[in-house]
């Protein structure tokens, strides 16, 4: 305004009032006193006059004094051309997905926000001489944006505290004029439920104050929230143990409905696991549900928790949540049945007891029917061999059965042998460890158990096979098999086996089962043309079987320890064996894995297939077919599975990435082998991350709290930004300056003469002089 009046040429960018005189403070005081005294004297002097005359004279005297004082002060207008460093106004625009929800009038909250910005563009423009207006979108962090029209509500979270932290880190102290936040206030992180400044964590309060500028908030959103059912929270463990109850808790919130009955379902791998009813009652907003199930097999399972949609509900994406739970073994339940106490049993039991992953049930035959009994039954600690309980009732609960130098004879066990065979066929693990009453010596020839052993037995083949010490040798298959894999490298593994203490004793066998694999063999002794097996394995049905044809592996522990060698190889050997026998997923010859259990829509999902030969060598240059598709019962006609085919590389790997554009539960199936008989699969969830859409609620109180702490204003979209408080910009230097003295005016001089002259004339006329 001033600049327009006094700088007609536009040479200056600043104009303000100044005092051009250089009187000292004492002089100012003296002048002030003199003026007051003179006015007071006039007041006293004019008392006898009538009112009209008195006022006239006082006004003239005062006006005269004012003019004289004005001349004395010498006021002026200072015109300057200044260099100004503009400070910044940071405008934070909420671009989270909740901004897609309905706004105040028609359209979404984002539309409402854009309209508001457009209406205030002129204001922002008017600030540009002093401030640079920076626009940012925010979710967790802020991101600079140039084109306001291009903003899309794609953010997966709203973290106001994080965004303010990020703003603070982008500007140096004092560089901000103001911060303006435009949001619906639905923070999805630590400020989620906050509605009062005192509830805002100290750390966040400090962050706001550190901005060192007023923080204004503008609430964008409807006055009245749309009715909605929403899954607020799902509580579950990402890992569960097989045969242990798993509980999944869910919290559902209800807005805008007073009475309603809606089904709530939990599905596992597409099959309904449980169904409950959400019964809405007036005044209650949150409802909790709990589902329990007992997983019976290991592996990944996908789960879908779904709340039916209510009448008139606009947002249904928050009515469904998918997730993956990985079911793992709790403990490996091992049944160790021992025919007679021995050193081999003693060290194997120690090993099994020490393994924290093993839940061991041991049963040792301490005496036989032919043993002398010199004590009464109650003087002995013996209990009957619970054959029915172990081999009929509890058989299925074991992951692994070990027959260690055990003969079934004498315990009426023949009837349980078919059950044991079926147990193995159905996926159980079985180990037969050698000894004088094991294998053929135990009478197993011709029994159902002999049918699944890796070695063949001949009846009447009694007696020990080899009494002298020997060092077993690794077969070609043994060099790669996980059971005999003591070291990572082949050479080190070979050396490790050669450095183990020697074994003694070998159970004689008639030969090998056709599909068995020998891992360790006797260095010299033969069965027919082949060397006698010492350790052999076999797959039988879904189960796996291991034969250890000696009772002296304990020497790999105790003797190795005594020799100062590595007795950990004993633990490694048996540990490997247990993992292989229970079909540890890591030991499958084909494995397909995706990097994560959960992806966002549009993410690249990386798929890795690892293929190994039967002897666990990498299967090189082998064809692999991988199908990535939505789980069967979710398949829609428009979504054909993605198929990738190729060959494995030198490491036996086949890898690729694939973008997934729709949400849901996806399954990757990898196949290989001549008849595609090798199959493995993995499951993952692609989600549009409904956290942002978990509720239709807004939270203007949070915005109000932030602006309160930030000493700014809380506005809604009806308020104008024009008069928002901002910190002034920084002045760097003055290039030109011009003072326009207002006192050096002829009119003013004339007034200074006319006013006292008029007073003198009137005083004389009225007889006062």
């Amino acid at each position: 305004m001033l600049r327009d009046l006094f700088d007609t040429d536009g040479q200056f960018n600043s104009a303000h009032w100044v005092v051009l005189s250089d009187w000292s403070g004492l002089t100012w005081t003296a002048v002030g006193l003199l003026v007051c005294i003179l006015i007071g004297f006039s007041w006293w002097n004019t008392q006898p006059l009538n009112r009209m005359r008195r006022i006239t004279l006082l006004a003239l005297r005062t006006a005269t004094l004012v003019v004289i004082t004005f001349l004395f002060i010498q006021p002026g207008i200072r015109l300057e051309h200044r260099n100004i460093v503009r400070n910044h106004v940071a405008v934070l625009i909420d671009q989270s997905r909740s901004m897609l929800l309905p706004g105040q009038s028609s359209g979404s909250r984002l539309d409402q926000l854009k309209r508001y910005l457009e209406a205030n563009l002129a204001v922002f423009k008017s600030w540009q001489t002093e401030h640079q207006v920076d626009y940012f979108t925010f979710g967790r962090y802020v991101k600079a944006v140039d084109d306001l029209k291009s903003i899309q509500a794609l953010g997966e979270m709203t973290d106001l505290a994080g965004a303010l932290d990020d703003v603070q880190s982008r500007y140096t102290s004092g560089d901000l004029a103001a911060v303006i936040i435009l949001s619906d206030g639905t923070d999805t992180t630590k400020l989620k439920e906050i509605s009062d400044p005192s509830l805002i964590p100290n750390r966040v309060q400090i962050a706001i104050k550190k901005l060192n500028a007023p923080v204004h908030t503008v609430f964008i959103g409807p006055d009245k929230v749309a009715p909605d059912l929403a899954i607020q929270d799902l509580s579950y463990d990402e890992f569960a143990f097989v045969r242990n109850a798993v509980t999944i808790d869910a919290k559902v919130s209800v807005f805008g409905y007073e009475q309603l009955r809606i089904p709530v379902t939990m599905k596992r791998n597409g099959k309904e696991l449980g169904r409950q009813v959400l019964e809405v009652v007036p005044g209650k907003q949150n409802y909790e549900f709990s589902f329990e199930f007992v997983p019976d097999e290991t592996g990944k399972s996908s789960f879908t928790f779904e709340v039916g949609s209510a009448p008139g509900e606009q947002i249904v994406i928050n009515n469904r949540r998918e997730f993956v739970i990985r079911v793992i073994r709790d403990k490996i339940r091992v049944l160790q049945v021992v025919g007679r106490p021995s050193w081999d049993e003693r060290f194997l039991r120690k090993l099994l007891k020490k393994n924290p992953n093993v839940d061991l049930i041991s049963f040792f035959i301490l005496r036989t029917s032919s043993s002398l009994q010199v004590a009464r039954r109650n003087e002995m600690s013996l209990i009957p061999f619970p054959t029915q309980e172990l081999f009929e009732q509890q058989l299925g609960s074991f992951d692994l059965i070990i027959f260690q130098n055990f003969t079934y004879r004498g315990y009426q066990m023949r009837q349980y042998m078919p059950l044991i065979k079926r147990y193995v066929q159905n996926g159980g693990g079985f180990v037969m460890v050698g000894g004088d009453i094991s294998f053929a010596n135990g009478g197993y020839a011709g029994t159902p158990i002999a049918e699944f052993l890796p070695v063949t037995l001949r009846g009447g083949q009694l007696g020990g096979g080899e009494k002298s010490d020997y060092r077993p040798t690794l077969t070609p298959a043994g060099q790669f098999h996980p059971i005999t894999n003591l070291k990572l490298s082949r050479d080190e593994n070979q050396t490790a086996w050669q450095s183990l203490p020697m074994l003694s004793g070998l159970n004689q066998v008639a030969g090998l089962a056709p599909d068995s694999v020998v891992l360790l063999e006797h260095p010299t002794k033969r069965v027919g043309v082949k060397k006698s097996p010492v350790v052999a394995v076999r797959n039988f049905g879904k189960g796996r079987v291991l034969s250890v044809l000696t009772d002296s592996t304990w020497r790999w522990d105790f003797e190795a320890f005594g020799l100062g060698a590595d007795n950990r190889n004993y633990y490694k050997f048996w540990g490997n064996a247990i993992r292989w026998l229970i079909r540890d997923p890591d030991l499958k010859t084909i494995r397909v894995t995706t990097g994560k259990d959960r992806y966002a829509v549009g993410d690249q999902v990386s798929v890795t297939v690892r293929l190994q030969a039967d002897d666990y060598r990498p299967a090189i240059d082998q064809p692999v077919r991988v199908e990535v598709g939505k789980r069967h019962n979710e398949q829609t006609s428009t979504e054909a599975p993605i198929i990738r085919q190729g060959k494995t590389d030198k490491g036996g790997l086949f890898t690729f990435s694939v973008p997934i554009k729709t949400d849901g539960v996806w399954r990757v199936v990898a196949r290989s082998g001549e008849d595609q008989e090798l199959v493995d699969q993995d499951v993952f969830v692609v989600t549009s991350e409904p956290i942002e859409l978990a509720t239709t609620k807004t939270n203007p109180l949070l915005l109000k709290s932030i602006s309160s702490i930030g000493q700014g204003r809380f506005l809604d979209d009806g308020d104008d930004l024009a008069d928002l408080e901002r910190k002034p910009p920084l002045l760097l230097q003055v290039n030109r300056r011009k003072d326009v003295p207002l006192w050096a005016s002829a009119w003013l001089l004339l007034l200074a003469i006319i006013l006292p002259s008029t007073e003198w004339f009137l005083r004389r006329r009225w007889g006062l002089l």
Binding site: R340, S342, W343, R349, E379, G464, S504, S552, F558
Partner: protein, 261 residues
């Protein structure tokens, strides 16, 4: 089905083989049998002759364990020490302290899984061996407490249910030892356990048992058998499947293990 002469001969031979085939003592290797090694130190070879054999014979008759009756005598420095997980140390009177090498080997043996039964066969009133052993054990297990094994220890129920350990004499009513890795690698008895087992060449007992007579000898056998069973099965009888039954059979009053030193 007809049977010719050849088949009949084969069948007869098979039946004879089955009858004559030894049910015990059969082994597939030289380490298959459970045997006792005796520490060859001082005059231990002469101290309790034919006693180990008698105990192991009883073990073979009363239990399913496949035993090697004859003991092997081993020095602590012998290489084959670690092929014999059960070692017995007889002693009487003061003994020569273990050398550093012996002590290191014994420590390795016990920590690696071996079990040592120390048997004081000294005459009553002679505490020389006892003093020596306590001194040795304090050097061997400086980090462990020397314990009196409570009657809830597994060794009292590995096969027979026992209240106290017995032997040729009744010097003490308890066993002592250390606990390491959830087991007792050293068990110390002072009742001349093996003295109760010795027999003369023609079958008579070598030494009388005092004061309990033949019942005490039987209980000594039971103690010895439980110790052999402990060496092979460790805490098997502490498994839950056995506990309920065992508690039911005896009016159990638990006296927990106590620290002695």
């Amino acid at each position: 089905m007809t049977m010719n002469r050849r088949k009949a001969i084969k069948l007869t031979a098979a039946v004879c083989a089955a009858i004559l085939a030894p049910r015990r003592g059969l082994s597939i290797g030289r380490d298959s049998k459970v045997g006792i090694a005796v520490l060859d130190r001082g005059n231990s070879r002469q101290l309790r002759p034919r006693c180990v054999e008698q105990l192991m014979w009883e073990v073979s008759k009363r239990t399913s364990i496949n035993v090697r009756e004859e003991p092997v005598y081993l020095k602590l420095t012998d290489e084959s020490l670690f092929r014999n997980p059960f070692l017995v140390w007889f002693g009487q009177g003061s003994i020569q302290p273990l050398s550093e090498m012996e002590r290191r080997r014994l420590s390795l043996y016990l920590r690696g899984g071996g079990t040592l039964l120390i048997s004081d066969v000294s005459p009553l009133g002679d505490d020389g061996f006892d003093t020596s052993i306590r001194s040795e054990m304090s050097l061997l297990w400086p980090d462990r407490d020397w314990m009196r094994l409570g009657n809830d220890h597994t060794v009292y129920r590995t096969f027979y249910l026992l209240e106290t350990p017995k032997g040729r004499v009744a010097r003490t009513d308890h066993l002592e030892g250390v606990i390491f890795d959830d087991r007792s690698p050293v068990i110390y008895e002072r009742n001349d356990l093996f003295g109760a087992f010795g027999r003369e060449r023609f079958g008579a007992w070598s030494m009388p048992v005092f004061p309990g007579g033949e019942r005490q000898r039987e209980m000594a056998f039971r103690t010895g058998l439980n110790l052999v069973m402990y060496a092979t099965c460790l805490n098997y009888k502490r498994d839950q499947v056995h506990v309920t039954e065992i508690l039911r059979r005896r009016n159990w009053r638990v006296e927990p293990s106590k620290t002695i030193r």
